[in-house]
């Protein structure tokens, strides 16, 4: 499971004195650099946490202090009550759940077709779809908006949900296709001989074997909705419909200098993402690895 297992090398056998010392110094430098890098990566998050539990007075001291005194946990309920977080959360979920379902289902169907079923023009179609990875979103943004505006769908969740039910984006299809191709074909050929149709094969054979890849797709598409800013910004214009990301940005505009509340609010939006990451770490790594290697 851990793709980073160390590989034994022949080098070890030829370890003469000076070389061993050299290698040891090399390792120390590696760890020092990694520690310094980790520190730089973590310090903004520590700053976020520290500011989120500090009083306003202490926050405006320069040079900054690191230990909150007193520990002002009340920033969290305060932020929670100033912003209609619960509503934003519910709105976000109203988009997120159907998007995740739509993406996972329709991307699996397409990926199954592109990896397992032979039909004329299949690979050309796939290549054309794949080329949209390089299509800038700015080009499709305005016509798509005008389409929804003409359908009177602006300020509803439809423009943010419906596209996910059309394959969910080539990225996910590509990821699943890579995974499906690694599954031996004997199983589904046998099932085909027994009279199963492709949907049954996908559901009973491919899907159970592809759980990690399907979970990866679900996670990434869910994360995409949670983090999306531009989509809600363009399509949702009454604050009753705002998502968490959009609501948070509005909140920033209103409480520009109340950093203790802003940090508590931000922390509340970030935390679920971090929890998701720690719960499902391997799926993240695997998903990125799948897309990266055979690009």
């Amino acid at each position: 499971m851990d793709i980073t297992q160390t590989k034994p090398t022949i080098q070890e056998a030829s370890g003469y004195g000076s070389q061993t010392v050299q290698r040891r110094i090399g390792r120390i430098i590696t760890y020092l650099l990694l520690a310094a890098g980790s520190f730089l990566m973590l310090i903004p998050l520590i700053w976020l946490l520290r500011s989120s539990v500090m009083g306003l007075r202490q926050i405006f001291i320069f040079p900054p202090q690191w230990i909150p005194d007193p520990l002002q946990i009340s920033n969290y309920p305060d932020a929670f009550n100033t912003v209609p977080f619960l509503r934003y959360f519910r709105n976000t979920m109203t988009i997120l759940i159907p998007v995740v379902l739509g993406t996972t289902i329709t991307a699996s169907l397409s990926a199954y077709s592109f990896s397992r079923l032979r039909w004329p023009g299949r690979d050309t179609v796939f290549a054309v779809l794949l080329s949209t990875l390089m299509l800038p979103y700015t080009v499709t943004l305005i016509p798509t908006f005008l389409l929804w505006a003409n359908l009177r769908m602006v300020n509803t969740y439809v423009p943010l949900i419906l596209p996910a039910w059309f394959g969910g984006g080539i990225f996910y299809i590509f990821l699943l296709r890579q995974f499906f191709r690694s599954i031996p074909t004997e199983l589904d050929e046998a099932a085909l001989m027994d009279g199963a149709n492709p949907l049954q094969i996908l559901w009973h054979i491919i899907a159970p074997l592809s759980r990690p890849a399907l979970i990866t797709v679900a996670i990434f598409s869910g994360l995409g909705v949670w983090n999306d800013f531009l989509g809600p910004l363009i399509y949702l214009n009454s604050s009753d419909n705002y998502t968490l990301a959009l609501g948070l940005s509005e909140f920033t505009g209103m409480y520009r200098s109340e950093w203790h509340l802003l940090m508590a609010a931000s922390a509340m939006v970030v935390t679920p993402v971090l929890i998701l990451f720690f719960v499902a770490q391997n799926y993240f790594v695997e998903g990125i690895t799948l897309t990266g290697i055979k690009g």
Binding site: Y31, P63, M134, T140, M263, F277
Partner: protein, 309 residues
């Protein structure tokens, strides 16, 4: 609709052909959502933007064809050049620095370090922080009076900077912030590094080479496909930077962070000049096409593809 092969009979040539036809039917049926999605959300809008770019469309009312007028106005628009410059400078700084940093960290992590999952997590996590939250966090870090970055400068005896509030420092500041989010790129590099076959390194050992030789003659050549993949995605990504400019600086100070995507957004959704904004988007599209073309062409001279893949 269901396949009709009695399980008892072995497939004869006739039913083989039926099976093929059936397979093609299912294949197209299952791929249909993706194909329709492509037509509805990618191809259709792309073609439509070709049309809209040549019209005057104020959202209310219908579009009127005005030929090249949008483009004439764009080429006389000072802000167009400004946003192009901002985006170019940002990309020229952020793409190479980001790729270098990500590659370097991946190299370190590939040194059979202990606690690799921990390090990997630390470097990856900032990249999944929602852009809105990280923007707010970084405004606060960049705060000239009470922010962490000026505090750090003070500790090492340097003067305060204005960061995102100075015309000269705003883009470098946003580049610095972008380096915080290189985790995804780093993971892709790491996966690539782990795929470099060990016997190549052993060959360098046998020839008496050192770690530097391994990097230059094995690692980098073998990694060129991954580098290329990350390069293309970073270029396209950074050319469309939006959220930071919108939330953190609102394009300022004095338009010094007016990213191209932010400029398009303003024209389209704040001034409702859909035609003008579409023309702007088309220009960006052409720029990205030309860039990708040159990157792809150049790739044959520096990207090494193993075997027939």
């Amino acid at each position: 609709m269901a396949a009709t092969f009695p399980s008892s009979t072995a497939p004869k040539t006739g039913s083989m052909r039926a099976m093929r036809r059936n397979e093609a039917f299912w294949g197209i049926l299952l791929a249909l959502p993706a194909i329709l999605g492509f037509i509805l959300w990618q191809f259709g809008p792309m073609v439509a933007s070709l049309f809209i770019g040549f019209t005057d469309w104020r959202l209310i009312g219908s579009p009127s064809w005005i030929g090249l007028e949008n483009f004439e106005r764009i080429f006389n628009d000072r802000l167009f050049y400004q946003s192009l410059k901002v985006t170019t400078v940002y990309s020229l700084l952020s793409v190479p620095l980001g790729l270098l940093a990500a590659f370097f960290i991946a190299l370190l992590l590939n040194q059979k370090v202990r606690g690799l999952p921990v390090f990997r997590t630390i470097f990856y996590i900032p990249s999944i922080v929602p852009a809105v939250a990280s923007s707010i966090l970084w405004i606060w870090l960049f705060n000239p009076d009470f922010g962490l970055l000026n505090a750090m400068l003070r500790t090492i005896g340097l003067p305060k900077l204005q960061w995102i509030y100075g015309t000269d420092t705003v883009i470098p500041s946003l580049v610095l912030m972008s380096l915080w989010g290189i985790g995804g790129t780093m993971l892709i590099f790491l996966a690539g590094l782990q795929g470099v076959p060990n016997h190549l390194y052993e060959a360098v050992d046998i020839d008496g080479g050192n770690a530097f030789h391994k990097l230059i003659y094995v690692t980098i050549p073998m990694m060129t496909p991954t580098i290329f993949f990350n390069l293309i995605l970073s270029v396209i990504g950074t050319l469309q930077t939006f959220t930071q400019g919108y939330i953190m600086t609102n394009g300022g100070p004095n338009n010094a962070s007016l990213f191209y995507a932010l400029f398009i957004y303003r024209k389209a959704f704040q001034q409702t000049q859909m035609g003008y904004a579409s023309a702007l988007a088309l220009i960006l599209f052409v720029i990205i096409l030309i860039l990708s073309f040159f990157l792809l062409r150049s790739s044959s001279s520096w990207v090494y593809y193993q075997g027939d893949r």
